[in-house]
Every structure is written in structure tokens, then in C-alpha cells.
Amino acid sequence: MALTEAATKPVTQRGDRIFSGLSLSAGLLILALLASVAIFLTIEAIPGVTASPEDAKNLDGGNFWQYVWPLVYGTLFASIIALIIATPLAISVALFISHYASRRLGQAIGYLIDLLAAVPSVVFGLWGIAYLAGELAPLYKWLTINLGWIPFFNTTPAGTSYALSATGRTILTAGIVLAIMVVPIITAICREIFIQTPRLHQEAALALGATRWEMIRMTVFPYARSGIIGATMLGLGRALGETMAVAMVLSASGVVSVRLLSSTNPSTIPANIALGIKEGSGLNINILIASGLVLFVITFVVNFAARAVVNRRKEFSGAN
């Protein structure tokens, strides 16, 4: 059937042209979409960046950069807390799957971790505020009493501005929830890379009498180093942009501070947008969009760099 239709030459050529044209335009449409994300955000952001303090009450007397700086700080701070918790955990879980568990058990665990990645962020937020924060509050009290001499755990007496949070809704809680959310991402990528470690390297190490841990340190980690860095940066990208979990868990007031346990916490860009858009109007919305553009630029750079690192690894891994 296909043969007879193919024999009528002009029709098939037109079909081919249409089909390849459709495919090409779909590809170009994606590029256009990415460009238009940048363009439309910029169009709506410009009035926000140039807004004068008299026109927009959100700015609180300063200019746009003074407004956005504490938010950038809070975003980075929460994400870095999340990464400090998540990276060792994710690498360990990935190692457990790839080098410790049996193949069948490893697959089952991998499925469980993927399940964790599928949980919607609003569920994480609900769990964080209605359960986790309350559970962590006594621990925070213990930390600040016993380790209060460390600046991170320091809180001032009750009633003053950096008092211990009674609800547990601190930046550390937000960081922990973020960590739980990025663990599946980092684990998935690390697992893939660990599994690809050349078998001969591993067996050679074992044959020379290395223990399993020495084998992992001598063959798996050097091979996977750039992959681990890339995976961590992708996790960072996710943590930077995560909105709802932070918006729900964190009790924010937009300060710049390193205190992890106080009731006065830095806010993050996405949480600030999500919470501000409801009451916002006019120029305030433009300011929020401008802060979103700042976030877009930060995550774009992080993801760009991460992909470049991961892709570079792809090239020389073929040489093994």
C-alpha cells in the first residue's frame, strides 16, 4: 500500500516537506518560547527596576536593587543549607544503590526515591508546616541552649528581634524541606554515573586487595567527580526555584542574617513572589516580576554551567 502511494512522486515530496517543516518549526518554536520567556519577563520587569521609591510602597524607600538583595541572599542561603544536607545524603544513597545493594533491591530503592521526586511541592509544604516544623522546634531549643555560641545557632532573649522561633518555621526547616526535595534529583544522576564506572577499573582495584570503600574512593569517585558536581548544581537549580515549600514553611521577614533558628528569617525570591502577588497591584507586580527575572538569570546560569559540566563528562567517558 505504501509502495503505490510512494510511486506518485509529487504527493510524497509534499508530504515530506510538510512533515519536516512541522518538525523543524516545533524545534524552532521551543527556541522562540525560551526567548519569549526572557523577552516578556523583561518587558514587564523594566518598570519595576526603574521604579522610584515614592511610586511603589513595596520598595520601602530604597531602589530596586536594595529591595532584591536580601531576597537573593535568602534564596542562596536556603539553597546552600539544602545542598549541605542533601549532597552527602544523595551521594550515599546513590552509592548504596549502585555498589552495596543487590540489583533487585537497588531497583526497588530507585523506584522509591523516584516516588519521592513525584510528590507535589505543595504536599511537602503542608507536611513541613503542619508536622515537621512542630517536631523540630524542641530540637532547635536544645541547639540554641547548648550550641548557642556558634553564630548560626545563636538567638537573642525572647521578645527581641532575633528570638528563638517558637513554631519551628525557620530558614533551617525550609532548608531541610528543600533538601528532601532535591535528594531524589541528585541521587538519580549520581546513580546513573556510578553505575557507568568502568568495570575493569573496579575489578582491578579489588584484585589488588582494596576494600570496597577503597575501591569506591580510587575508581568510582575520580570517574564520577564532574558528574557529582553537575548533579549538585542541578539540585541547586531546583532548590533556588522551589516556591511553595518555602512559601508555606518559612516565616519570613526579609532580613539578611545567618541565624538559623530565630523567628526573623530572610525570605526567598520565589516565596516572596508567591505571597506578594495576591495583594500586589500596579507597579508592585512589576517589581515582583523583575525579582523573578533576577531568579531566572541566576537559575539559568547555574543550569547552563551544570549542563556544560555534565555534557563534558559525556564526551570523554567514551574513551574508557
Binding site: 508530504g15 524545534g27 519577563l41 550515599s92 507536611w127 570496597r212 577503597e214
Partner: protein, 361 residues
Amino acid sequence: MSIQAPPRPAAPPLSNSNSNSLTANQLPLWAPKATVAGAIVLVAGLHFVIGMGLVGAVLIGWLAAIVALPLWSLLVEGSRKATDRLAGVLIASAFALALIPLVSIVWKVLDEGASALSAEFFTFSMRNVLGDGGGIYHALVGTLLITFGASVISIPIGLFTSIYLVEYGQDNRLARWITFLVDVMTGIPSIVAGLFAYALFAVFFGPGVRMGLGGSVALSVLMIPVVVRSCEEMIKLVPNELREASYALGVPKWRTILKIVLPTALAGIVTGVTLAIARVIGETAPLLLIAGSTASVNFNMFGGRMQTLPVFAFSQQSSPGAFPDAALERAWGAALVLMLIVMVLNLIARIISFLFSPKGE
């Protein structure tokens, strides 16, 4: 580990009671299990006999285990083996630690959400509801419509792009750029996608616009890269021999793709699309911005606010009104329904890929 040396008649007498020279200076195979069992006994003792809190007891039991096994190993096997044992214990406990939140979330959502589910919960909206009662009907309608809209936009674009990348692009410069930018697009924060949709619609409809279609556009930005990636992987898996056999019969390229490549990859494509839907159906932030929140049912994608399940859960929790207990219960109920939808979609995807993937030959 379990190598058994052949018995040697002339084995020299060792100081160790173990007479086998190959297994001398080694912990018995049951050592890790014995340590874990000892730790469990310790935890049970602390918790039930002394009456310590469960968290503290588990923490002490765990500390005892990670000290005891390497120490035992250090005394018998030497420092290298002890380091190995320590690393093993730490990695296993990291894995256990990572499972705790998963179990806790699932248990908590089931526990708190199950009591909210009722016939009324699924068939009523929140219109004129103040205290108990009310439901998620309007949110279900919104979620289904907006996700459907996003799928209608994303699936053709994503599928055709992946066809271009595999069949037409042939790794040229444009194809490489598209692949790279699609990868980068996967990392766009969901709130930025929402802001994009908001900015786009604000330019055309004026500021303060809220409509369901905007939600679909925002979700498409998040969904397209996922669809492209999974479809590309699946189309790549189709053996070249099938394409060449088709060309050899004189079938033009587009019909080869349509009749040979796509049907072969269909199961994988459907699986990938289902997973992409599962990923965006739980998105909250973009819908909060552009679709807004309302108490009433709205079937019109092109006008007015539209409630969705994730936004419903968020708004019930964050602005509970005069009856916070009832609102929080509804939030947990909505979270449970949302989780169930995501899990069912994941399950469907796995079943499809299991049933329809090409087998053998």
C-alpha cells in the same frame, strides 16, 4: 568474603583460635547483622525499660552501632577494614535516613487526609461554605481542564521537536542547540514559568488578568522539555534496520516515521507523556499566579479565575478563615487526592511501558 580455603593438613598453629589462615583476622560473616541486632535490643531497652523517647533511643542505638562495628573490626581486622566497615555503615544509614521523610509524608497525608474524603468532598465546591463541609469539585474541574490544555499544547510541540532531533536534525548545530536549551529549560523554576504566562497575558489583556488558559501556557513551559527528552530517548531506541527496510521498499521518510518509527516507540512515548503530566499536575506556584484561586466552579478556560487542587490545598492552609480546623482538614484531603492522582499516573505509566514495550526478537 566467603572464599573457603581448601583444608591444609600442615597448617601452622595460630595464636588466633581460628585455624584457617585465610579467614583468620576476619570478623565472622554475621558480624554486621549481630551489630544491628544488638543496636535494636539497645533501642528497645532504652525505650521500653528506661522509658526514653523513641527518637533519642534510636539516635543512641545508631551511634552505638556505628562505633561498635568499626571498633570491633579495628581490633580484629586492622584499620583499613575498619574504615571500610565504617563507610558501609554510614552509607546504609544515610539510605535509611533518606527513607524517613518519604514514609513520614505518605503516612501523614494518609492519616490526616483520609478523614476528609467523602461523597460531598468530591461533588461540592467551596461556594458559600464557611465551616465544615464543602469540597474540591471546582478544583478537580480546574486541574483537569488546565492540565488537559497544557497537554494539548505540549505533546505536539514536544513530539515533533523530538522527531526533528532524531530524524531530521542528525546532530547538526541547530539540533545540538535545541537539545542543550531543552536541558536548560528543564531547570526553569516553576514560578518563573508562571510569571512568564502572567507577563505574556498582561501585555495582551492588561494587568491583573487571570484565566485558565494562562495556567496551561505556564504548565506547557514546564512540560515541553520533559516530553521532548522522553520522546527523544524512545525514538532513538527504534532500530535503524526498521527504517532502512522501509526506505528500501520505497516508502517516503514521513510515512516511515508515521507508520514505522512512531508505532514502534508508542509505548515509550505514552509512558513519557504520562510521567510529564504527573510532573505538572502537582505544580502550584504558576497556577497561583495566573489561574488564581476561587470558591466557585468555572468551566471557561478563557475568562476568570480557576481553582486547582494544589492551589486549593495551599489557600486552605494559608488563609483558613474563621474555621481553621475544617480548612486544614480540607487541605490534607486535597493533598491526599493530589498524591493519589500522581501515584496513579505513575502506576499507569509503568503498566503501559510493561505491557506494550516490544518484547524479544
